[in-house]
């Protein structure tokens, strides 16, 4: 293991190199650009063995990666915001075909108006696409989650695509020290991808993505939904195995609790959890529940972590327009519906389009939450 000081995007490209992909196919978009740049440099310097495909759009990037994985390769792509939106159609093909594609999304706001800064509008819009979504808090977690993502995706019990979400600029462009695992250790942790369910090979003809009549389609969708739900077990298991090998652990791989023995719990996803830890450290009434795995939603774990609370505050960087609240809030409220003494649940929509979420804003929110109504939605703006 080597402790290095690099930019988040450079760390991502190094982590991709360690995973030994056969294909890297990506189209540059802010704030993901440095990831593609660093990977192109690794390729030019002969440090990565992958084929590097320069595509003309994100639609092609995702399509080529789907094709490569169908042909038993390990592939990598990365995108952001509008790029992810352009991939939308192919995302469903990847999950429906049960292809273990792994992608980094540098989270960024969606147009219009055009905005390049961080929020979670892009990945939240793809929450029903059948992809596993893992959110990372810091650069170290991005590196570790990316390595875990291939192991989770390619597991025979899972066979699903995984999106590793890292906050644009906040993580992609920050220079931070992190540990880079050794190649040998990663090789031991990540065996070669050897599928039997989907193999594009002229020697053994197989039809991928055939036409399905209503009944089989219905059943296959049900199976996909179940497969995503059931992947929780493997995600936790991979988190444990990773901890054993590399010495780092992120909660149970699904959620992470920090000082969560207090009467108020604040929920966050991604890099904002760093800020929330600071807030929690200085208070005596609030603990943090970080959702690392948002799809599948770890309902049982969240229920356990939240049910005895007085107040639950869901702080999120996205809005479900037409619902008047954030998407995560709606789901947390749904899963706490059947709890007998339900906590008061409050939603804070924050950081849209890169608005800073400051410690004092969060403190003020927690202070005010005592006088807020159950279900109230607060738009936090500095």
């Amino acid at each position: 293991m080597v402790r290095k000081l690099m930019e988040g995007s450079e760390f991502v490209s190094e982590a991709v190199r360690l995973c030994r992909p056969d294909l890297v196919s990506a189209y540059p978009i802010t704030p993901q650009t440095h990831i593609v740049e660093s990977l192109a440099k690794l390729k030019a310097d002969g440090k990565i063995d992958a084929k590097f495909l320069e595509v003309e759009s994100e639609f092609s990037a995702m399509s080529s990666v789907v094709g490569a994985v169908a042909a038993c390769s390990r592939a990598f792509t990365a995108t952001s915001s509008q790029g992810l939106a352009l991939m939308h159609e192919v995302l469903f093909a990847a999950s429906g075909l049960r292809l273990p594609v792994v992608m980094i999304v540098a989270n960024r706001a969606l147009s219009a108006p055009i905005n390049i800064w961080n929020d979670h509008s892009d990945t939240m819009a793809e929450r029903d696409s059948g992809w596993i979504q893992l959110y990372a808090e810091n650069i170290q977690e991005v590196i570790d989650t990316l390595i875990q993502a291939y192991r989770i995706a390619e597991d025979n019990r899972v066979l699903l695509p995984v999106m590793v979400c890292m906050d644009g600029f906040i993580l992609t462009h920050t220079i931070e020290p992190a540990d880079l695992p050794d190649q040998k250790e990663v090789d031991e942790f990540l065996p070669k991808y050897k599928p039997t369910h989907a193999v594009l090979d002229p020697e053994r003809p197989m039809t991928l993505g055939p036409f399905a009549y209503p009944e089989p389609y219905f059943e296959l969708r049900k199976e996909l939904s179940k497969a995503v739900d059931d992947s929780k077990e493997v995600i936790s298991e991979v988190n444990d195995k990773f901890a054993k090998k590399f010495g780092r652990k992120y909660g149970n791989g699904l959620i992470e609790e920090y000082k969560n023995d207090r009467k108020i719990a604040i929920i966050g996803l991604g890099s904002v959890c760093g800020t929330l830890r600071e807030v929690v450290d200085k208070r005596k009434d609030t603990g943090l529940v970080k959702i690392k795995c948002y799809r599948p939603l770890p309902k049982e774990d969240l229920n356990k972590a939240l049910k005895r609370k007085k107040i639950v505050i869901v702080l999120e960087k996205a809005v479900a327009i037409g619902l008047g609240s954030g998407p995560v809030f709606a789901e947390i409220r749904d899963l706490l519906y059947s709890v007998k003494e339900r906590p008061k649940i409050i939603n804070a929509i924050a950081g849209l389009g890169g608005v800073d979420i400051r410690i004092k804003d969060v403190n003020a929110l927690i202070d005010e939450s005592k006088n807020m109504k159950d279900g109230e939605v607060r738009w936090l703006k500095s």
Binding site: G96, R98, L159, H197, M206, L208, P210, A212, P216, L220
Partner: protein
């Protein structure tokens, strides 16, 4: 779709993959038809319809066109292309 060995409980393969080639022969797509082309006595056995049939399901047998109704989808291209108007359209009885 054939029964899967990957997951014992499911009747489908993972992702609905068709693992054996030749399903186009097994699945008789002729059931899609609402109208069927019928070859009449006027047929001169020239083979124009054989060349135009997109399903490749017309053959010349004893100098007359013969349609394989297991796979004919009823597109009526043969009817349009026949130089002697020997093919007529009939409603499919189901």
């Amino acid at each position: 779709m054939k029964k899967s060995k990957d997951k014992s409980k499911s009747k489908h393969t993972i992702g609905g993959t068709v693992k054996e080639p030749g399903s186009a022969k097994v699945l008789k797509t002729g059931v899609w038809r609402n109208f069927k082309p019928v070859v009449t006595e006027k047929c001169i056995g020239c083979g124009t319809c054989v060349l135009f049939c997109p399903e490749g399901c017309i053959k010349i047998v004893d100098k007359k066109a013969k349609i394989d109704y297991d796979y004919c989808k009823g597109c009526m291209i043969c009817l349009v292309e026949c130089p002697v108007k020997a093919i007529i359209k009939e409603r499919e009885e189901k």
